[in-house]
């Protein structure tokens, strides 16, 4: 009797055990299976190196090199404080700093925490030898972006930054991950996908201490694609040096095919700073913060994103339109008394005592406002608008850089729409000398001048010479201009430099002849903007140089001198090549 009761109790317990087993293994089985998988399988990311960017001669502009990081694996470290004490003397970093880095970067016990980045190779090797004796210490080799030309190519290459939360959700399907670096501005941004490559990874079976037991599978990272730019790195450096502390932009391009040899915007920045800041280096982080908040808009690429009145350089468009529409001929001349009275207001020439009789050649040579007021008024605003558009103003140049400005080409309709006001003749006058509402980026100006220089073809300025081993062919658009028109303007432009009374005579180079145009464009406030643009050879030009100095004063002075130095260098190198 009592025995049976005892048996019932015991077998009752057995049934309960069986039911518990059923719950744990069958009902909750999949859940625990997942937990056991998580226990044993870890995914180790293998970063892909970004694609290398070369200049036209094969010089490396953006590199990916191996960098050594020092990491701590928390779950293998008994005493982080002690480990840091041990390694701190080898690193030359204070214990507090290392500990702060550790606390900031700690994610999970099995994920290595990087506490010092980009160690010198000798130190990395020394510490790697200690990995065995100091458990939890790890030297990681990761690809690191490196920009050998530093700040001289900052605006072209751009810089890298961490993925933003919004981008993560937007591009989840493209495999962008939290740790990934993405291009911010410049080529790094435009060709981000192409350059980034495909990160790899290893699926590793680990034991309870996190040590690798077995490699379950791996995918090698795929380096990003290579890019060959039209940039000429040495020239770029020279231009960067020449502009030094100026604020402005300079573009050197081939006016025949639109290949940009150099594109500089000042002030510039060193993209390596951003890499160092990402790697947690404090002084660099502070400098990056200063860059981002600077009054001078350091990160603005003035060559493509700055919008300025083109001033007298626009007279080329006015001249072209007037000649094409037969409002003037090469024989036409206007008398310049120093100003033109229009609607009760005096529109001044820059030379207040007047140029006297001016034809198209001397008009360009002297940059006589009155000649172009008259030409513009003869044309009318609509034609000026049409020709401005024809020469690419008011539309993107097509260069492979983000954040381009479109510029502004005014028209009668535009004014009505914007200001609810009719167009005045005075505005036509201003328009014809490149002032007033008209705004353009330096690259748009260079593009317009190229069209004249190459005999009437609108080029597409570009920076990519080769992508994915493919040479790029960039077309240009024939504007259908008359040969005589081009010839007349070019003659005028040659005189700008080559004759002693030309506004750009300071750009003349002893042994050669070249053509150009200056502009001293009134700014909304402060000193005028100085422009100079020139090309060589006059007949079949191969090089065009544009210098723009923000509030830089007369275009015939500093801009002309800088352009001269650049042109001299290009010609010398060209001869040397031969």
């Amino acid at each position: 009797m009592h025995l049976k009761f005892l048996r019932r109790i015991i077998f009752g317990c057995f049934v309960l055990l069986a039911l518990s087993l059923l719950r744990l293994q069958i009902i909750q089985g999949p859940y625990f299976l997942q937990l056991s998988q998580n226990n044993r399988i870890k995914f180790v990311n293998l970063a892909a190196g970004r694609g290398i960017i070369y200049d036209r001669f094969g010089k490396v502009l953006a590199n990916t090199r191996s960098c050594f990081n020092l990491a701590i694996i928390p779950q293998q470290t008994k005493d982080v404080q002690k480990l840091i004490e041990q390694i701190s003397p080898h690193l030359g970093l204070s214990q507090d700093e290392l500990l702060a880095n550790f606390k900031r970067n700690l994610l999970a016990p099995f994920i290595p925490v990087v506490i010092a980045q980009d160690l010198p190779k000798e130190k990395a090797i020394l510490l790697e030898c200690k990995e065995a004796e100091i458990p939890g210490l790890l030297i990681q080799v990761v690809p690191l972006r490196d920009y050998p030309y530093a700040q001289s190519l900052g605006h072209i290459l751009g810089y890298l930054g961490r993925t933003r939360e919004k981008e993560l959700t937007q591009s989840k399907d493209y495999g962008l991950r939290r740790q990934d670096l993405v291009g911010r501005s410049g080529m790094e941004e435009t060709f981000d996908d192409y350059l980034r490559g495909e990160p790899g990874g290893m699926q590793v079976e680990v034991n309870s201490r996190g040590y690798q037991v077995k490699l379950l599978g791996s995918k090698q990272p795929q380096s990003g694609g290579e890019l060959v730019l039209t940039i000429w790195a040495e020239l770029q450096e020279l231009v960067d040096d020449l502009l030094a502390e100026e604020i402005g932009a300079c573009i050197v391009l081939n006016p025949q095919n639109g290949e940009v040899l150099s594109l500089v915007s000042k002030p510039s920045f060193d993209p390596n700073l951003f890499i160092a800041a990402l790697n947690g280096k404090q002084p660099e982080s502070r400098r990056v913060q200063r860059l981002l908040n600077s009054q001078e808009a350091v990160l603005l690429n003035r060559a493509i994103s700055g919008m300025y009145p083109p001033g007298s350089i626009f007279k080329i468009v006015t001249a072209c339109a007037a000649l094409e529409n037969e409002k003037i001929t090469t024989k036409t001349s206007f008398f310049c008394p120093g100003s033109l009275r229009l609607g009760g207001r005096d529109f001044l020439c820059w030379k207040l005592d007047g140029h006297g009789n001016e034809d198209i050649f001397s008009g360009i040579r002297h940059s006589c406002n009155v000649f172009f007021y008259n030409s513009g008024l003869a044309l009318g605003a609509d034609k000026l608008t049409l020709y401005a558009h024809k020469f690419g103003f008011g539309s993107f140049t097509g260069i492979e850089l983000p954040y381009q400005a479109q510029g502004l080409v005014p028209s009668k309709a535009w004014k009505l729409k914007t200001y609810r006001e009719k167009w005045y003749d005075g505005e036509t006058a201003n328009f014809s000398i490149g002032q007033g509402y008209l705004l353009a980026t330096p690259l748009q100006v260079a593009r317009m001048v190229s069209a004249v220089a190459n005999g009437g073809n609108l080029i597409q300025p570009h920076l990519v010479k080769k992508i994915a081993q493919q040479e790029l062919v960039v077309s240009r658009k024939d504007l259908g201009l008359k040969k005589e028109t081009i010839k007349a303007i070019k003659t005028g432009m040659r005189q700008v430099i080559q004759t002693s009374d030309g506004t750009g005579h300071k750009a003349s180079i002893a042994s050669i002849e070249w053509a150009g145009k200056t502009a001293t464009a009134q700014a909304a406030s402060g000193v005028a903007h100085g422009w100079f643009v020139g090309f060589y050879p006059v007949e079949q030009p191969e090089v065009l140089v544009l210098v723009f100095l923000e509030h830089g004063g007369s275009g015939g002075e500093a801009p002309a001198r800088i352009a001269k130095s650049i042109m001299q260098y290009v010609i010398e190198q060209h001869r040397g090549e031969r």
Binding site: H2, L6, F14, L17, L21, Q25, F32, L33, S36, N207
Partner: protein
């Protein structure tokens, strides 16, 4: 005579014992082959030694052991006191007595000795409508209480706890009324907060962690969590012998001793774990058959004590690996690595077989 005696030999009990031990060996191998060699050999040697002792025990009529119960009990108390004075510390407790290379845990044998002494004492005094607090009841509590306190002092909570169901089961089979026993049990539970203060810190922590394993996932709770993951991830059919990731990759601590059932659950799955449970069930079923076939009171009491000794450890051990009971550190009978426990179980089973053999004599 010999023939009839052979007929009484419980072959099923014997074979099931061998089978459970063999399965145990397989999992002991799985749990330890990566750690070090020798676990298997040591366990086999112990088993061989245990079987030899078992044969001796089996040959001797259990009544002889009952006659020796009082001196054995006295000797056991002396040894338990000696453990507290001379004992070796292992894993934070003082449970071991060493003799050369061989160490043993006297507390393991105490369980059997207490069953013997209770059987001896009660077997001579049939229960017939005794009151709530009879002399026998008090004396039995005293007989169990002294070694209980000595064992708690070591501390070996698991072994000490085993004594309680043994005492209650033996008293119940002897004839104490269920009401009386439940009343005593209730009082004991009511008074348990007093015992809480007697517990060592690590024991308190274990009980707290049982209530919430995530309280201390890397400390005391770690074992429970990893053990649940191991068993749960085994699913219906398991990951295969030697292929349990939890055990083979060392996520599961104590897997060759108290947590060996987790290895079985992980590698053989629900069906394998159920098979093992079934084998233990058959073992206990046969033990009950022997107890029922015995006409002598002392035979029945002794059998009941041994049944509870084995059943309680099976139930508590498996329950704790599944996280449904606190981790109290009880080995899984016949499977967990450890000599003293294995020897105790083999001796107990031999005694049980002997009780079965002697049923036709009386």
């Amino acid at each position: 005579m010999i023939r009839s005696r052979l007929k009484n030999f419980d072959v099923i009990l014997f074979l099931v014992t061998i089978l459970i031990f063999t399965i145990g060996l397989a999992f002991l191998y799985s749990a330890t082959y990566q750690l070090a060699q020798g676990f298997l050999l040591r366990q086999l040697l112990r088993f061989a030694f245990g079987v030899l002792i078992g044969i001796v025990i089996f040959k001797i009529d259990y009544q002889k052991w009952l006659e020796l119960a009082y001196p054995l009990y006295g000797l056991n108390l002396v040894i338990l006191v000696l453990v507290l004075i001379l004992g070796e510390h292992r894993m934070g407790a003082q449970r071991w007595i060493s003799w050369g290379n061989i160490g043993f845990q006297p507390a393991e044998f105490s369980k059997l000795v207490i069953i013997l002494v209770l059987t001896r004492y009660l077997g001579e005094r049939p229960a017939q409508g005794r009151g709530l607090l009879s002399k026998e009841l008090l004396l039995c509590f005293l007989l169990t209480g002294i070694p209980f306190i000595l064992i708690v002092q070591q501390p070996d909570l698991g072994t000490a706890l085993t004594l309680i169901p043994i005492l209650f089961a033996v008293l119940y089979i002897w004839g104490a009324s269920l009401k009386t026993l439940l009343l005593i049990l209730g009082t004991g539970i009511f008074a348990s907060p007093i015992f809480w203060h007697l517990l060592k810190d690590y024991q308190k922590r274990r009980i707290l962690v049982f209530i919430n394993p995530n309280m201390d996932p890397l400390g005391a709770g770690y074992t429970i969590i990893q053990s649940k993951i191991a068993i749960g991830s085994g699913g219906l059919l398991g990951k295969g012998w030697l292929s349990g990731t939890q055990s083979q990759l060392n996520f599961l601590p104590e897997r060759h001793t108290d947590f060996i059932f987790s290895v079985v659950g992980e590698e053989w799955g629900f069906l394998g774990a159920l098979l093992l449970l079934l084998l233990y069930g058959i073992l206990i079923w046969r033990a009950f058959a022997i107890a029922q076939a015995t006409s002598s009171l002392s035979g029945r009491l002794l059998a009941a004590g041994i049944i509870v000794l084995i059943a309680f450890q099976v139930i508590v051990n498996i329950a704790m690996t599944m996280g449904v009971m606190p981790v109290v550190g009880l080995p899984l009978p016949l499977i967990s690595h450890g000599g003293s426990a294995l020897l105790t179980f083999l001796v107990a089973l031999a005694m049980l077989l002997n009780i079965g053999m002697n049923r036709s004599i009386l």
